[in-house]
Symmetry: C2
Subunit: 344 residues, 2 copies
């Protein structure tokens, strides 16, 4: 096909946001899709992964990954279909996962290191699952919990953001490994889902009650592993309920990402001393060479019907600025996915 | 000897302090020293160990050890001489180390579990050393650094309170293990001692300069191990300079013990995530069955003349309330010891 007839709508970072990103922090541009050169492919973006980490990429300053530059297409992981190819690596019609960015088409070398495309198979699992339990959130949950959290059978594992992309996977892995899984989520509907659909032992509704009281009720012998996606007051509440030799996995701190004041440090951190406990950070990219191990194990559970994950899919690239905010307002229910185009 | 002719002056907790302990939070009492019964000994206290941890024991609430009760003799480790014995375990004239409390005489069963007396030999090392590098501070430094901090040769090890009891030992162990040792201490005199006498590679004077600038200068490749005795702003400064996979040993937080406001949590804790680092607490009592290993290794270094520790000895039980405060005002220079009686 000729791709120059296609128009590529793109979302670029216009300004570094202060607090929550506003629509004016983004710039919508469009340009023709250029023909692929030798070794290049054109990927039509179908689904984009919206993640709390995106907020960090919008800030200046040293982090685990370089900031998105002003005027650059916003970084995002996505699933797409190869619509033109001058590379033996991917054929037209194949589906790929990789760093597509927030745009309708990606054009470049098939072996681009940043995009890092790999094939995905829609017959094995619906495409959005490759952005959820079979993608970064699933890998984050798997290696964060098992490698850093080191749960033992019988341990009480607590996870915040339990209805979110990472949280729902953490709790289900914990159950498969013989632990008790206690979620923390906002609202009765999410908590019911976490317990009734995902099989957690309990879920504490932080919007309608005290997290401390919930922990007291559901973790009578203390928290052995806490997988933290939120930071803030909830981290402090869990620190106050640690069991001896507890492990806290620091995966993120969504409550703090849009702060215009300094980050709230965990005032109860001396509980680490009293309980000989540890708090450790993790970044999923460190485990890239073992992603296949995680995908194989979780895929097996999915096929056995004992493992499920939920996506919250919003349609339309133009909704990107507002859809992203759902993450920070606790509005998404399951892994937040932006659908850019229909699957054909 | 008859001990009933002796008077035992004691310091008891009169009230739970708010902020820094005041003289009125203590009560001085005296009572005759009773005769030892079968299996009992009388220990004349010579030296007491004054430690930041004492402040925590004065508070109500769950911790790693029960609080000192109101009207109870204040808990303290000490060195004493056995002056009467009806036990085969210790003979009159022998020296013992154990939980004597803040008083002139201790009377009770030779095998008392709380006091946990063991013999010390003044010919091997001066008695105050058994409260310093050969006592709890030394054990804390040894196991905290080596077991929790896990330094590797070439690592940059930073320790706060570097002229204090634990800090001076941490830095010297680090040097013996092939690391660079950077201290943080208050004032030029202490910093000079840490570098010139103890052999640290550098010492940052937090009272006369920026800790951040000092870390930038002395830790150009980042901090691999931080041994934290102080908490507060200095912990945050170090968090901002962590190397990848860094380890922070949480030993104490002297800057926070007298707070009347909530503890200041480390606002930069997300540096743990970025750097895949960990922060872990330790309590020295967990290592009791290996104290002899530490004492043997440090004793060997002392005999070789490559390891020294300094005590700051203040005389007189009646000075206890004010002498204890030296710890929180950074006034002690070396391990703070209260001399209760002269060695004969």
């Amino acid at each position: 096909m000729t791709t120059t007839a296609l128009t590529n709508q793109q979302v670029r970072l216009a300004a570094r946001p202060v607090g929550l990103p506003k629509r004016s922090d983004w710039k919508f541009t469009s340009e023709p899709v250029r023909e692929p050169g030798d070794g290049e492919i054109v990927v039509k973006v179908l689904y984009l992964s919206l993640d709390p980490a995106m907020r960090g990429w919008m800030n200046e300053g040293k982090s685990y990954i370089r900031p998105v530059a002003i005027d650059e297409v916003m970084r995002a992981g996505g699933i797409g279909k190869v619509v033109a190819s001058k590379s033996p690596k991917f054929a037209v019609g194949e589906y790929v996962s990789g760093g597509t960015g927030v745009q309708e088409y990606w054009v470049g070398p098939a072996d681009d290191k940043t995009a890092a495309f790999y094939k995905v198979d829609p017959r094995m699992a619906p495409l959005p699952k490759y952005l959820n339990s079979l993608g970064m959130p699933g890998m984050t949950a798997y290696f964060g919990l098992l490698d850093v959290g080191q749960p033992k059978p019988g341990d009480t594992v607590v996870v915040s953001g339990a209805a979110g992309a990472v949280g729902q996977t953490v709790g289900q892995i914990a159950k498969h490994k013989g632990c008790r899984a206690i979620g923390i989520a906002g609202g009765k509907e999410k908590c019911d889902f976490v317990v009734n659909e995902l099989g957690f032992d309990a879920c504490i509704d932080y919007k309608n009650g005290s997290v401390r009281e919930g922990l007291k009720q559901h973790c009578p012998t203390g928290v052995n592993v806490y997988f933290d996606n939120v930071g803030g007051d909830i981290l402090d509440d869990v620190l106050a309920k640690l069991a001896m030799k507890a492990r806290i996995v620091i995966c993120g701190a969504i409550s703090q990402y849009n702060n215009t004041t300094p980050v709230k440090g965990p005032a109860n951190y001396l509980s680490l001393l009293v309980n000989r406990a540890r708090m450790e950070g993790m970044v999923v990219f460190d485990y890239a060479d073992r992603y296949h191990v995680a995908a194989a194990e979780m895929g097996k559970w999915m096929q056995a019907g004992t493992f499920q994950t939920r996506e919250d899919i919003v349609k339309g690239l133009d909704t990107f600025p507002e859809t992203l905010l759902m993450l920070f307002e606790g509005k998404n229910f399951g892994k937040l996915v932006l659908q850019v185009a229909d699957e054909e």
